[in-house]
C-alpha cells in the first residue's frame, strides 16, 4: 500500500503514512486494547517502503496519551525503521509542561539509533 490515512478516534491516533512527502505521522491518543493489530499496517508500510525510498523519512509523533502496549508497538515500529537502514528523523512533539511525554521521547531517543528532535509546543 502506498499510503495509510486513518482518522483519530477516542482510542486510536490519527495516522498518515505517505510517500510524497515521505512521512509517517501519528497524532492524538494511542490506547487501544489491541495495539499490535492497530500498528500492524504501519509495520507493513515501513517494511515495504523504507528499503525502496531514497529520501529521508520524517516521523512525526504528537501523542497526548499512549498505553504501555502502544509504547511497545511504537518501539517496534521505530526499530523496523532503524533496521531498514533508511535515512530518517523523529520529530517528537510534547507540550512544554508535560514532563512525562518529554521523558518518553528521551527514552526512545536513548534506545533507538535514529536522529531525534524533541520539540516543545504550547498545546497539542
Amino acid at each position: 500500500m502506498a499510503e495509510i490515512r486513518l482518522k483519530g478516534t477516542a482510542k486510536t491516533p490519527e495516522v498518515a503514512c505517505t510517500l510524497d512527502p515521505f512521512v509517517l505521522m501519528l497524532s492524538g491518543r494511542s490506547i487501544p486494547e489491541n495495539s499490535i493489530e492497530f500498528y500492524q499496517t504501519m509495520m507493513t508500510w515501513v517494511e515495504e517502503h523504507c528499503h525502496a525510498q531514497s529520501g529521508k523519512l520524517d516521523i512525526k509523533i504528537r501523542l497526548e496519551y499512549f498505553n504501555t502496549s502502544s509504547s511497545k508497538c511504537l518501539m517496534d515500529l521505530l526499530k523496523r525503521v532503524e533496521k531498514s537502514g533508511a535515512s530518517a528523523e523523529v520529530h517528537w512533539y510534547y507540550e512544554e509542561e508535560d514532563e512525562d511525554m518529554l521523558e518518553a521521547g528521551e527514552d526512545y531517543d536513548a534506545i533507538i539509533d535514529i536522529p531525534f528532535k524533541l520539540i516543545a509546543t504550547e498545546a497539542l
Binding site: A10, K11, I31, E33, N34, S35, I36, E64, Y65, N67, T68, S69, S71, K72, C73, M75, D76, D98, D100, E103, D107, Y108, A110, I111
Partner: protein, 171 residues
C-alpha cells in the same frame, strides 16, 4: 466485596466509583468518564495515564464468564489523587504480584527509568502486549506511592486491592 479503609482516606472526596464486570466497552466508558471528571484538574494528564493502565489491567484480568466483579475508585484528597482497583486474583499469582511490586517499590526514580528502558527495548510481550511495562509506568507516574493489599476471597483466590497516589507536589 468491601474496600479496605486505606483506600478511602478520611480527608478525601470520592470523584468516581465503579463496581461491576469490566469488558472492553466498560473500560472505554470508565476512561471517558474519568477524563471528564479530571478535565482542567491539576496533573490531569499524569493521572489519566495511571487511570488508563489501571482500568485496562482490570479488563485484562477480568474473567470472561463474569464470575467476579471488579472495582475502580478515584478519590481526590487535598494534595493528591488516589486511584484504587480491586479484583479477584488466584492465590498462586498473588505472591508473584506481591514480589514484583515490592521490588519496584524499592527502586528510586532513576532505577525505575532504567528498568523501564530495558523493558521497552527488549522484544518481550505479555499476553496483552505490554511487556510488563504497565506496573513500571504506574510506579514512575506515582513517584513510588503504590500500595498492594490482599484480602481473603473465595477458595484459592484473594481480593487484590491496588492503590496509586499522585501528589500535586510531584507535578
Amino acid at each position: 466485596m468491601k474496600w479496605p479503609t486505606s483506600a478511602l482516606p478520611d480527608d478525601g472526596r470520592v470523584e468516581f466509583a465503579f463496581h461491576g464486570h469490566v469488558d472492553e466497552a466498560t473500560s472505554a466508558l470508565l476512561i471517558e468518564q474519568m477524563e471528564r471528571r479530571l478535565a482542567n484538574s491539576p496533573l490531569h494528564r499524569k493521572v489519566m495515564r495511571v487511570v488508563i493502565e489501571l482500568v485496562q489491567n482490570l479488563h485484562h484480568h477480568s474473567p470472561a464468564d463474569h464470575s467476579h466483579e471488579s472495582r475502580f475508585l478515584c478519590v481526590r484528597r487535598p494534595n493528591a489523587w488516589v486511584m484504587s482497583t480491586a479484583n479477584v486474583i488466584a492465590s498462586d499469582k498473588a505472591q508473584a504480584l506481591r514480589e514484583r511490586i515490592d521490588r519496584l517499590s524499592a527502586l528510586n526514580a532513576d532505577e525505575l527509568r532504567a528498568e523501564h528502558r530495558e523493558h521497552l527495548s527488549n522484544g518481550n510481550r505479555t499476553a496483552h502486549g505490554g511487556g510488563g511495562v504497565g506496573l513500571l509506568e504506574i510506579h514512575r507516574k506515582s513517584s513510588g506511592e503504590v500500595h498492594l493489599e490482599f484480602l481473603p476471597s473465595l477458595n484459592d483466590s484473594q481480593l487484590s486491592v491496588f492503590t496509586a497516589e499522585i501528589h500535586f507536589e510531584h507535578g
